[in-house]
Symmetry: C2
Subunit: 390 residues, 2 copies
Amino acid sequence: MNNFVFYSPTEFVFGKDTEAQVGVLVRKYGVRKVMIAYGGGSIIRSGLLDRVKESLQAAGVTYGEFGGVQPNPIDTKVYEGIDICRREQAEMILAVGGGSVIDTAKAIAAGVPYEGDFWDFFIGKEKVTKALKVAVILTIPAAGSEGSGNSVITKIETLQKLSLRVPELLRPVFSIMNPELTYTLPPFQTACGIADMMVHIMERYFTNTQDVEISDRLCEGTLMAIIKEAYRIKQNPEDYDARANMMWCGTIAHNGTCGIGCEEDWASHFLEHEISAIYNVTHGAGLTVIVPAWMTFVSRHNPKKIAQFANRIFGIPESEDLEEMALAGISRLKHFFRYLGLPVNFKELDVENPDIERLADSLHRNKGELVGNYVKLTKEDSKEVYRLAL
Amino acid sequence: MNNFVFYSPTEFVFGKDTEAQVGVLVRKYGVRKVMIAYGGGSIIRSGLLDRVKESLQAAGVTYGEFGGVQPNPIDTKVYEGIDICRREQAEMILAVGGGSVIDTAKAIAAGVPYEGDFWDFFIGKEKVTKALKVAVILTIPAAGSEGSGNSVITKIETLQKLSLRVPELLRPVFSIMNPELTYTLPPFQTACGIADMMVHIMERYFTNTQDVEISDRLCEGTLMAIIKEAYRIKQNPEDYDARANMMWCGTIAHNGTCGIGCEEDWASHFLEHEISAIYNVTHGAGLTVIVPAWMTFVSRHNPKKIAQFANRIFGIPESEDLEEMALAGISRLKHFFRYLGLPVNFKELDVENPDIERLADSLHRNKGELVGNYVKLTKEDSKEVYRLAL
């Protein structure tokens, strides 16, 4: 087991009607003026925005509004948010939405007190040393951004999709999570969220670090719970307990609970970021295309942990042929993704002829000569993974 | 699933040589004067105390010393600590040790800024509204106190063993955890720690709350990891990875990771507290006497979750007779405890004729008419549990 730091200071307030506590929580963290950030307006139609404002008003908190954040969030929206937060002197950004809104909120939070271009942080030119507070009311369980210090933003001009990680400053101070708010998510978006959280775990689980039994068990337990609850949600999208279990799985998939002491991989995420940056597909759907292809590729070189996954998650019997075990597990995983209505190859993703040269060029330009850790992918390897996803 | 709050703000710094970071961490949290609290002196003999002082000095932190905290910590030591901290104007108590030292440090932290008697907090007469900071260097994985806001103290005059829970103020700001520091623990103490962390999980796992799949899986996964690593540690006490996995299991057993959204039980802990208060036995050894007895008793009335435990942890085959499944699991658990050298009845605990009337009287005087939740124990029930442990 490697040395590690586990630091998850976010206060998670979880359950029915918890959004009514937002005003009190904002005040608890010493804030009197927030900027409410949100996406396409579903929170207006559902009445959630009104309930949030009511709670803020009752607690004597004033607020501004910043809507229109879109999936695969972009830098231009961040600049816009920085301007409005400065103008209105917001002390906290309250993200009401899913990963895109929260990631945008974090980028704005870092950008407001910084005199230069916030993109400096994403390209590693500058370090974040100060930021506005971020808080969350989560409506889409998927990205885990409600419990992480990460933000992923795409620069629209160059289609660079880069991530920033500043746990100490960008983690939400609190995250309100009411599973009822997820009832109305369209099945495809629910499924993409499930894929996203599963892959967050798998990026940590597929490691060469030895003797990480507790990490393995937590990863496997969370994956098993996700799979079980996914079937129940598919049957009944308004099953509170299934939604509740799923929502919490999405958080612990990415707040550090899973993967402690492991060298993590993240190649699948980086392979996918190139796809969604260029073809603007939903991140979760891009992942279910890439992950089985990546698993197939790495099973040729290093099948051990993929075989363990197959055995412990899907009950594939142990055998001496680890690659065979691995492939049987990958087949079950694809079957599960398809059951949820998710694509498992480029064609099903509606990307008929992906430009594999361009994807691989961009990936290795952004991420270096070798990508990932479980198997370190060269550019040729990455092309092979993309080809396996055709 | 019930509504819940998950809040674990402690920064856990885990791994080899991490105690060398203590000075830097103390300064990071804005402190310049600490009181080092410790136990019987093993940290002097091992050289740990010297290494801690060196790191503090290098960071420009001044310190006082407060040694001699004993297992099953007592109120008189807390008063002593409050005095010395006030006199030396400590801003933080750095507990170097296990649960007893940390619990004492927390009680002192609450007592220093309070004008009245710190015991007021434990009997519920007053609420903690201010406290010194607490930080930890953990040497005994067991109590989980390094990640909790709880403290258990015994009032020596009345032998009342009571607990206080103030997550927002008494959780350590950081906890340093170096598994190497646990190599020299005597086998019995290692085993008692293992029992303590297992029961922390079981108190949460044995719940009537329905549909808590993610909580169940995290509890089960952690228990399975503990059992696996316990065998390895028994074989080789200096197996770093086994010690590392075990140490982290002890923390997540009690920091809220396990048991989210569940109504917890805690009857076994309360039944045991009476034993260790009166007979001064080691808490973990008291637990392995009480828990199988408690499980046997509740299996008569509510076997469902005990049967699931038997099936998922020990592989007892599913059957229609849930009580039979449960009893088979309890038998396997006792076998495991015995393998570790732990007692599973009063005789093996060297308490030949426990005063069951007195234990039950005191329990229900301290905890009310009904104790626990999975099965609510009357005084007659509690006596029956004690009898089953004979």
